[in-house]
């Protein structure tokens, strides 16, 4: 198990208080696949470098299974690492690249080559062993980098944006393969990525970072369905969540979110504490949780369609308030069977219990997160 306790990393020369990583706590179970996800500059790569031992935390502790490793050299941490650039040794053959970590451990040449061959078979690159890295395609180089990281049977595999240099189609294949290999070997794996789809698809748990802090650390579906705050909610999801400014009010015994364009009555079981009434909030709902409906439906809102984008698997409908009272455009994801055209007036309704309410007076905390 890997434990990070209150990790802080300040780079030399940066202004005081400008921390790359700021009080980060993280626990990773043995054999788990964890993604560090966030926008650039969020501290995810710095965190990975500290796990690798290539950077030392300014304060805080890193434990690998109970052993404090803050000052342990990378080579003594029993880790394998794949870099974004792959960092293959350009003048060594594929075989020598894969055997390199073994040879540096004074493993005899023949044995090292034998193990390199075994590892290369797992990654299906055993026919490329005599090539030089420059003679390989991007996908092949990526496999060689994986093989080199795995050849020493590491306890922990660190992946720094390993798929960002691959084309979209190859990414999907490689992603599946990495997941499969990780399962088979049972190696604890930490991947750094800015690609949310990749993170959600591949990992057991995802830690979303922003400003050097973990915003939420949870399994993918929980992150998606129960974001703890506005950052997580707006960062995840493509197309992004609709966010509408409003106020929490109590009206004739009901709690409502009053916006300029509509009033949404909260269901009984989603009622909030009375102390929240009167607060400025953002009402959030994902595009696929909005339906186009009849005017007679409960809580139907009249909208005008501004634009329809065909996504292949469905349509992305952008709707505006016909009276222009609602400043925000509403994005709706519908199936292809729904016939809509720009300029149409339609009614929309929100799927029940799929909405979120973010408290703008408290850094966008999701008031419904614990349900």
């Amino acid at each position: 198990m890997i434990t990070l306790k209150n990790i802080v990393k300040e780079y030399e020369g940066k202004q005081e208080g400008n921390k790359a990583v700021d009080g980060l706590d993280l626990e990773i179970n043995k054999g788990e696949f964890v993604a560090l996800l966030g926008p650039s500059g969020c501290g995810k790569t710095t965190t990975l470098m500290m796990l690798a031992g290539l950077l030392k935390p300014t304060s805080g502790e890193i434990y690998f299974g109970g052993r404090l490793v803050n000052h342990v050299e990378p080579k003594d941490r029993n880790i394998g690492m794949v870099f974004q650039s792959y960092a293959l040794y350009p003048h060594l053959s594929v075989r020598d690249n894969i055997a390199f970590p073994l040879r540096e451990r004074k493993i005899p040449k023949l044995e090292a080559y034998e193990r390199a061959k075994e590892t290369s078979k797992i990654l299906q690159i055993d026919h490329l062993l005599d090539r030089k890295p420059a003679q390989l395609s991007g996908g092949q180089q990526q496999r060689v980098a994986m093989a080199r990281a795995l050849s020493k049977n590491p306890e922990i595999l660190l992946l720094d944006e390993p798929m960002s240099n691959l084309d979209a189609r190859l990414k999907l294949d490689v992603r599946d393969e990495i997941r499969k290999i990780q399962r088979n070997l049972g190696v604890t794996t930490i991947i750094v990525t800015h690609d949310q789809e990749e993170a959600l698809a591949i990992s057991d748990r995802v830690a979303i970072l922003n400003g050097g802090k973990i915003q939420q650390y949870a399994p993918p579906n929980e992150l998606f369905n129960h974001p703890v705050n506005l950052f997580v909610a707006s960062f995840l999801g493509n197309p992004p969540m609709n966010l509408v400014k409003g106020t929490l009010e109590e009206k004739s015994g009901n709690q409502v979110v009053a916006t300029n364009g509509f009033e949404y009555v909260l269901p009984e079981d989603r009622r909030l504490d009375k102390t929240h009434m009167g607060k400025q909030v953002l009402f959030g709902i994902r595009p696929h949780d909005i339906m186009i409906c009849d005017s007679t439906d409960m809580q139907a809102i009249k909208m005008k369609i501004d634009l329809v984008e065909h996504l292949g698997s469905g349509k992305l409908v952008k709707a505006i308030d016909p009276q222009h009272k609602l400043e925000t455009m509403i994005r709706i994801l519908t199936g292809n069977e729904i016939e809509v055209n720009s300029g149409d007036n339609v009614y929309i309704k929100f799927k029940e219990r799929k909405f979120h309410i973010f408290d703008m007076t408290d850094n966008g905390v999701n008031l419904l997160q614990y349900r």
Partner: protein
């Protein structure tokens, strides 16, 4: 849609055609006047007995046969070899050590930059000033820097005549101190171009410093090393400037190299024809050495396209 106009073949106007030649012309002229003409003149001259009387007569290969019967030749060839080989070996070694030390071990440190700048000084001061400095250091009288220093510390009582025994060593020393920086700059730049990730990967893989140097840094330096070896070697074989200023080839012929000999024959003794023949031998030796090192460094491999398959 196809029509007659689009199918018509585009013809380059005449002015466009001559542009490239127009741009090249001035430099081609310079190259012709200052490189090709002198080369032809030298070759022609080497088959004549041109001397101070300026009445050349065609003498066939006499000059060349005379070189090989010249009783000075063995010593001069030996001097040339010693001078070129030692200068090259030592300056390459130092350039390599300094580059690795400052670009790998002390990467990004201010001290490393300052140290490299220090090494650049000898190559930017004028040769005459530079040689005067060395003459002062090794001056055989008590005024000489080294002699006065050693006398002050009581190491020697009488001034040492440095040039009598160690002329070649002094010549080599002065030469390498001013040539190291050239190689150093190229090698440092090559080391600097190695991506940081490779070092990181090596640290994760537990590579020793020795492995980093032999498996990551040195292979990167193959081509710069080839270039430096060839260019410096040609320089050493054909250069006589420092030697002429420092020792004039002496004492006796102790520091006379082939190119200095050619200079002396042509300009001191005015045997222009013979001097030209000797300098052609210098060119021939340089040419052979260049071919040898291109082979040694497997130059073909660099210009061969790499093979990429999916």
């Amino acid at each position: 849609m196809e029509n007659a106009a689009s199918r018509q073949i585009y013809k380059k106007p005449f002015t466009k055609k001559i542009y490239p030649y127009l741009f090249i012309a001035p430099f081609a002229l310079l190259v012709f006047v200052f490189f090709i003409l002198p080369a032809i003149a030298t070759i022609v001259m080497s088959f004549t007995d041109l001397n101070a009387s300026m009445k050349p007569k065609f003498v066939g290969v006499t000059n060349f046969t005379r070189i090989f019967s010249d009783y000075n030749l063995p010593q001069i060839l030996w001097n040339t070899a010693i001078f070129a080989v030692l200068s090259l070996a030592i300056s390459l070694l130092f350039a390599l050590i300094i580059s690795i030390a400052t670009q790998y071990f002390l990467k990004g440190k201010l001290s490393a930059v300052l140290y490299r700048v220090l090494w650049l000084i000898p190559s930017i001061i004028p040769a005459v000033v530079y040689v005067t400095f060395w003459k002062y250091v090794f001056d055989p009288t008590e005024e000489g820097f080294l002699n006065s220093l050693m006398q002050q510390f009581g190491i020697v009582s009488d001034p040492v005549s440095w040039f009598t025994k160690g002329a070649m060593a002094i010549v080599i020393l002065a030469t390498i101190v001013s040539t190291i920086s050239g190689g150093m700059i190229l090698l440092s730049a090559a080391i600097n171009s190695i991506p940081e990730d490779l070092y990181k990967a090596a640290r994760v893989d537990g590579a020793s410093e020795k492995s980093v140097i032999t498996k990551i840094i040195m292979p990167t330096l193959k081509w710069p090393l080839m270039y430096i070896t060839i260019s410096e070697l040609i320089g050493f074989v054909s250069s006589y400037f420092f030697i002429m200023l420092l020792t004039g080839g002496g004492p006796m012929r102790d520091t006379t190299t082939l190119s200095l000999y050619a200079y002396q024959q042509a300009f001191n003794l005015k045997y222009y024809g013979y001097g030209a023949a000797v300098s052609l031998i210098v060119v021939f030796i340089s040419f052979i050495l260049t071919l040898f090192f291109l082979r040694l460094f497997d130059f073909d491999q660099m210009i061969r396209p790499s093979r990429i398959e999916d």
